[in-house]
Amino acid sequence: MKFTLSWLKDHLETTASVDRIVEAMTMAGLEVEDVEDPATKLAAFSVAKIVEAVQHPNADRLRVCQVETRDGRKEIVCGAPNARAGLTTIYAPIGAYVPGLGVTLVEKPVRGVVSNGMMCSASELEVAEESDGILELPDSLAVGTSAAEALGLEAVIDFEVTPNRPDWLGVAGIARDLAAAGVGRLKDLSVQAVAGKFPCPVEIRLDGSDACPVFAGRLVRGVRNGPSPEWLQARLKAIGLRPISALVDITNLLSYDRARPLHVYDAAKLTGGFIEARLGREGEEVHALDGKTYAVTPDMCVIADAKGPLGLGGVMGGEDSGCSETTTDVFIESAWFDPLRTAQTGRVLGITSDAQYRFARGVDPGFVVPGLELATKLVLELCGGEASEVLVAGQIPAAPVPIEFDPNYVHRLSGLSVAREGVLEILHKLGFETKGDGASVVVTPPTWRRDVEGKADLVEEVARIAGYGALPSTPLPEVARAVGGVLTVRQARARVARRALAAAGYSEAVTWSFTARKTAELFGGGQDALVLANPIAAELDCMRPSILPNLIEAAGRNAKRGFADAALFEIGPVFGGDQPQDQRLAISAILAPHGPRRWDGAQAEDVFTIKADLIALLDELGAPTANLQVAQGAAAPWWHPGRSARLQLGPKAVIAEFGALHPAVLKALDVDGPVYGFEVFVETIPEPKRKPTKTKPALALSPLMPLSRDFAFVVAKDKAAGDLTKAVAGADKALIAAARVFDVYEGKGVEDGFKSLAVEVTIQPREATLTEAEIEALSAKIVAAAEKATGAKLRG
């Protein structure tokens, strides 16, 4: 919404500067987006008079002019055909930036004659789109007058209106708030009725629906419609509207002046002697003013005559019934359309007109008839004719409900100290009525403030006019702090995981919660419930079932830029369904090792790197890593079937999956492998038991030296090393502290289909040093346990 200072001054007596007004608007809740001040833009330009114009000695089309300017007499070369002696026009000195040309003037000879400036056309000053020759201004203008003043240009203030304040969509509404805020005095906004000379010959009908509860109208006959007067055109042009004809311009003026949209019909084009507001019917169409044809639905409000719909009520008028230069009898509509329905119609049809914008936010129901009277007055003034009596069909929507209000509540809710009289004065200035002088008063909001529904709204009115600048800064009362921090275990784990993975060399990424449905399907997702109806892009149409695809794709994008080596992680939500409990927190990481080649021949990172990082992470998160089952081959199908596993406490307590990504999945994501990764499901990690003390269990240090023994087992190739070491460790839980594979061998000396696993067993004597016989007995138990679990034999 835009307005100019002179327009504002129609309703507000003030000497305030533009800056002061902008500041007051901002602090009253009107967000000023931009102030375009031509006086600043055209500061270099001023009025000048051509004293003499003679033919250029070297160019047929050029004239050499002697010009009286602000800077004294100047010789200026001009190519405009209308450059003649005696002309009053606009002059730009050397050094001025000419906005319409995008150049800064420099002193240079034009065909041998130096031009000491320039005389400008309207388009060169950007005050018109096209122009023919230099500006021709009234002779009465004094040399040196600023161009902005000479051309009647003034600052245009552009601001944003929040949806609760449709009254700010009219300049009068802004004037009211500014007056309340102390920027000036509000002029009388009341409207005089225009007496009708004859009964309105056009009947107004309503269908009784909520679409249009009230419709006022009257006929003005014998009008002459033509271009509107200069002042009206200038006012509309200043805020970017195109003048059309006097009748149409009057409706646009009132739309912006009083936030009161109106419509004018050429009465000669109405059929059946009536006009009605009703719901649309299937199959009906409207040929709207924008030249388009819209299909009407029974949800939309139409204005119709006997032949059918003329326009969309409150949204856009029709082409066939509009006023033109030949119009002599005009029917003026001032109705009130249901905001929700108007908003809906605009949305469905993709129309946002000035009228639709206002009706959708709710225009002042108290101004239906005054708006019609004001329009009539302007029509009679500008177009002549005589007016009929006013017809009103339907009921004006109920006024806002009075509110019982204790003025002290302003202090209670806002902390501001405003005396009772101050509270009431502000409310009165904003058009609220108050009754009663007890502890509470009854406040009736004005009809244009349908947003004010309760006490808190009244506090806002008082607070914003009194000024938020006066709000006190009051410390929150001290509260007892949560012992041991405020984070839940889950929140703290996310925080620890972030630091642990970053320390382990992974870079944290944050990627979209969505992915492409076909990608989601690759990772076990893509169900209908998680597909967006209105995605921002086709490849972001589905909630992600896993973070992995996003990280893999990020690695792919990095690789395509020439940075293939990637170690990324993300901590965030994954979605198993559309219910709140279907959302889980995942910690995912990927490793695409493409590090520099090594001069020492050391191995690159591989699936065991990611396993080590995963176990280290789980340790940091307090997971019982010693008890975790490594379920090889049990991981989901997007992993390499032979190089992936689940870490679980049981089949239903899957804490993580890790491994190499399946080559087919990588191919589908257009990423070169291998890529390793893991995904941890944070909620599955058991929470630590709450203990009454933070004391750690006592440390029992054995005085006896541990000893180690090596065993070489031959076992079938498909047996898991983990099963073997688990059996070995379980052979005597009291004595065996650890069992760890240190060599894996297949080939010469080991039968086909078998492998040799060398295991180092650490034995911790408990009570006394073990004798050779005891060690022999333990070794036998180890070998027996290994054989029982995996069929392993000691290598001969």
Binding site: A343, S414, M543, F563
Partner: protein, 370 residues
């Protein structure tokens, strides 16, 4: 005499000539071993007369002692030379690269989230969470957005297809639904343990999380992060709100001289509502918070609307409070100077390592909250 002198001279020469430890050992055995030349001389002492022994004894023993000392000395020299040779052979070119170690980092948005949590935790706030996929009630209706109201349009909501019950789920457009979950006493137990359950006032929580709007340009992305704050108690007013936010901004931007400006605004779920601007200086292309004459819009806030309290079963005549919401990504950009919001979610390794934070920069009151 002569033979002893000769023997000693010969031994000295042999010891000096021994080129390595085994040659030296051979010399030692030949002289001092059981059958060695010096040992043989020592054996002759037993057969001598006391007078003769008195004369010869010291001579022969002296010879043995000097030979032993010479051998020890030579041995030490040979060992030192051997070690020098070994060390020379063990020389490594230490200008060769060490095994590469990955350098990870924390994403700036997440760093800022952690900073904000640390600051608010100091002020007695705990952290509440809620689901990203919400329903109309929690995201709009309970927050005083009337059905079909134009204010809903301003949120550019992402919707899912209607389910069997005809209900259309949506992606939350703000973290405010968690306000509702926190205040609604009937929300017990919550749908999942991590989701905020209803609690009795007094309430003092912040709500960090992902939010979604259908929008994309240099300053808008379809997903972004918010931190919401909610304080409900008896007698909490806008002055407390102002203090809370001023305190936060000063700590967050690490400035003593923060200047704020509250402007009236409109949000359906607060009344009165405000936007907060922070005084800043933009000269020279760099943003400095806490000085200068420009204003920078930081966040929206206000007193919780009585309709919201009522929708959650809280009596607005007994309890009142404030709420605020701010964009985490934007605050991260303002503080750390990232120019384009979209880069935050692109996962470009170069960007992440340039703008990322050390794992050990965990915000805490002792080393600093940012």
């Amino acid at each position: 005499m002569t033979d002893l002198s000769q023997l000693e001279a010969d031994l000295s020469a042999q010891i000096a000539a021994a080129g390595d430890l085994s040659a030296l050992e051979a010399v030692r055995v030949a002289a001092l071993g059981k059958t060695g030349s010096v040992s043989a001389l020592l054996k002759t002492l037993g057969a001598m007369s006391p007078d003769e022994r008195k004369e010869r004894g010291p001579q022969i023993n002296g010879l043995r002692d000097r030979a032993t000392a010479l051998i020890a000395e030579r041995k030490a020299a040979l060992e030192a030379a051997a070690l020098d040779a070994q060390l020379a052979a063990e020389r490594l070119d230490l200008t060769l690269p060490a095994p590469p170690r990955r350098k990870g980092g924390v994403h700036p948005t997440m760093q800022v989230m952690d900073e904000m949590v640390a600051i608010f935790a100091e002020m007695g706030f705990s952290v509440a969470e809620g689901p990203d996929i919400e329903d109309d009630f929690h995201n709009f209706t309970a927050l005083n957005f009337p059905p079909k109201h134009p204010a809903r349009e301003m949120h550019d909501t992402f919707f899912f297809h209607p389910g069997e019950d005809g209900e259309r789920k949506l992606l939350r457009t703000h973290t405010s639904p968690v306000q509702v979950r926190t205040m609604q006493r009937t929300n017990t137990p919550p749908p999942a343990p991590w989701i905020a359950g209803g609690q009795e006032p007094p309430i003092r929580v912040i709500v960090p999380g992902r939010t979604y709007r259908k929008d994309s340009d240099q300053t808008h992305t379809p997903m972004f992060h918010q931190v919401e704050g909610l304080v409900i108690d008896k007698g909490v007013h806008m002055g407390h709100l102002k203090w809370t936010l001023e305190t936060f901004i000063a700590r967050f931007f690490e400035t003593d001289s923060v200047v704020t400006r509250f402007r009236p605004h409109h949000f359906p779920f607060t009344e009165p509502s405000a936007e907060m601007d922070v005084g800043c200086d933009r000269s020279g292309g760099e943003l400095r918070i806490g000085q200068g004459s420009d204003w920078l819009e930081i966040l929206g806030c206000g007193m919780v609307h009585p309709n919201v309290l009522r929708a959650c079963g809280v009596d607005p005549d007994v309890y009142q409070g404030f709420a605020f919401g701010m964009g985490v990504d934007r605050l991260a950009m303002l503080k750390y100077g990232m120019p384009d919001l979209r880069d935050l979610f692109a996962g470009d390794g170069r960007w992440l390592s340039h703008y990322g934070f050390s794992a050990f920069a965990d915000p805490n009151p002792a080393s600093g909250l940012s």
